[in-house]
């Protein structure tokens, strides 16, 4: 565990900059299921990208490419919002 800062060394009001934030990989939080996609069905509406609470849907430019499983917590929202049922939650 990293050493905690004293009050004098903290940024004012505890403001957080991206560079100073620990990048905790939260993919380990998944408990058994991960999203799987059938790209042939995908219409690139990007609803999954919009709804994902962990920014774990990856794009290339504006095109859906898949999931970043280092951050995906397996909540299943993407599968739920997909209008063409291209995403399915599958066992790890």
């Amino acid at each position: 565990m990293a050493e905690l800062s004293t009050w004098e060394s903290l940024p004012i009001a505890g403001a957080v900059r991206p560079s100073g934030a620990p990048r905790t990989k939260t993919g380990g939080w998944r408990t058994g299921e991960k999203p799987a996609v059938d790209v042939s069905l995908c219409v690139n509406c990007l609803l999954c990208w919009l709804y994902c609470p962990d920014s774990a849907v990856t794009l290339s430019g504006e095109t859906f490419t898949g999931f970043d499983l280092e951050y995906c917590k397996g909540c299943g929202i993407c599968a739920d919002v997909c209008p063409v049922a291209a995403i399915e939650m599958v066992p790890e």
Binding site: S5, W7, L10, P11, I12, G14, V16
Partner: protein, 384 residues
């Protein structure tokens, strides 16, 4: 060339705001604050200031919008009174913790209930521990001077906290008195441009403001805030010294009035100090060694300076314009702590709740040690 005008305290604050010309003023009307914003809005309509007034639906929203504006990089001011401050209180704490240097005029008014529109300091005391600076004006001139000084204190890198300029409702907000205004360009130079050193909302340098803090950091961030408020005492004196060069008027953390050789002293906040000064002069003419300690800065509380100023007094009477039911009134409690270990006699009096008058004969009674704990309350007699 001095520009002396006959202005109410509310108008005086509005003119200070015109000269400061803040970027944003989110505000909701409430008596007796209304004349401040009414006058200021008229000055904007007349083209004398370029501020964007944001009409919000409550004081809670006013302070919320003020935090956003201040941290987005705009100099921000607002104003309120009494119930408005009570509704705003939740967000006042957040403004302090997010270190938003908002300047707010507070037309001091009794808290309900019973509902009342007149002056006391219960509204200020409600947010005593919110972490904001609270400065009390004695007169319309003082209200103007403190408002001009306030952005410099709020925005100082050592402080970065909301500053409240407190002026007694009606007694100051609505009473017309001579007020000497500084030239517009001198005020503009004095307050300078708004530049925040702490992170502001900036898309090229993204930050998270007001983050969640768990037990591992909450305490540290509260301590950081306390240190900022402590630092405000030095900053206030520095700004007061600089302001004095401009105005030849000095409003620091406290004013010692004829205290040098005083044996009896009164400690008071706000407009009452003027009435006490008149009585001190009368008593001095009668060869009574009376004096006044007028406290300008209630937060931060200048304990050491107070103890030094009152050294040599045999007895001190503290006037609280707010009560603390079931406990010791706020100013009295602070004085008792500041003077702990000293052998002077300390008496506390509550007075003036809900606009009850304090006349010079009442002040004489207090100096004589013959006043009841609640001064001016019907049926009260001094216990001794």
């Amino acid at each position: 060339m001095t520009d002396v005008r006959l202005l109410t305290g509310g108008e005086a604050v509005a003119h200070a705001m015109r000269q400061i010309d803040p970027d944003v003023v989110p505000v909701y009307p409430i008596t007796p604050q209304t004349p401040i914003i009414q006058t200021f809005a008229k000055l904007i309509a007349d083209g004398e200031a370029s501020t964007e007034i944001v009409n919000v639906e409550s004081e809670h929203s006013a302070m919320s919008a003020a935090i956003g504006a201040a941290l987005a990089g705009g100099r921000t001011m607002t104003a309120t009174s009494s119930q408005g401050l009570a509704l705003m209180a939740e967000v006042v704490y957040i403004a302090a913790s997010m270190r938003a240097p908002i300047v707010m005029a507070l037309g001091n008014r009794a808290l309900s209930g019973p509902i009342n529109i007149h002056c006391d300091h219960s509204d200020s005391m409600l947010i005593r521990d919110s972490g904001v600076v609270q400065l009390f004006a004695e007169s319309a001139q003082d209200a103007y001077d403190l408002t001009v000084m306030a952005p410099r204190i709020a925005e100082d890198a050592r402080v970065l906290l909301p500053v409240l300029v407190c002026l007694d409702g009606f007694t100051i907000t609505h009473s017309a008195e001579p007020v000497s205004l500084l030239p517009d360009d001198e005020v503009a130079r004095f307050v300078g441009p708004y530049r925040l050193r702490n992170a502001v909302l900036d898309t090229t340098r993204p930050t998270t403001q007001g983050p969640f803090a768990m037990p591992d950091y909450y305490f540290e961030l509260r301590r950081q805030q306390a240190a900022a408020l402590e630092a405000a005492l030095d900053v206030l004196e520095e700004v007061a010294a600089e302001f004095e060069l401009l105005s030849r008027r000095r409003v620091g953390a406290l004013e010692a009035y004829r205290l040098e050789d005083a044996t009896r002293a009164i400690v008071a906040l706000g407009s009452t100090a003027g009435t006490v000064k008149d009585v001190v002069d009368e008593l001095r003419d009668e060869h009574e060694a009376a004096g006044l300690l007028r406290l300008v800065s209630f937060r931060p509380f200048p304990s050491a300076a107070i103890a030094a100023a009152l050294e040599g007094c045999a007895s001190v009477a503290v006037l609280d314009r707010a009560d603390s039911p079931g406990g010791t009134p706020p100013l009295h409690a602070e004085l008792a702590a500041a003077l702990y270990g000293s052998d002077l006699e300390l008496a506390g009096h509550v007075y003036g709740l809900g606009g009850r008058e304090l006349h010079p004969p009442d002040v004489r009674e207090i100096f004589r040690g013959a006043a009841a704990p609640y001064v001016g309350l019907r049926g009260e007699r001094c216990p001794v």
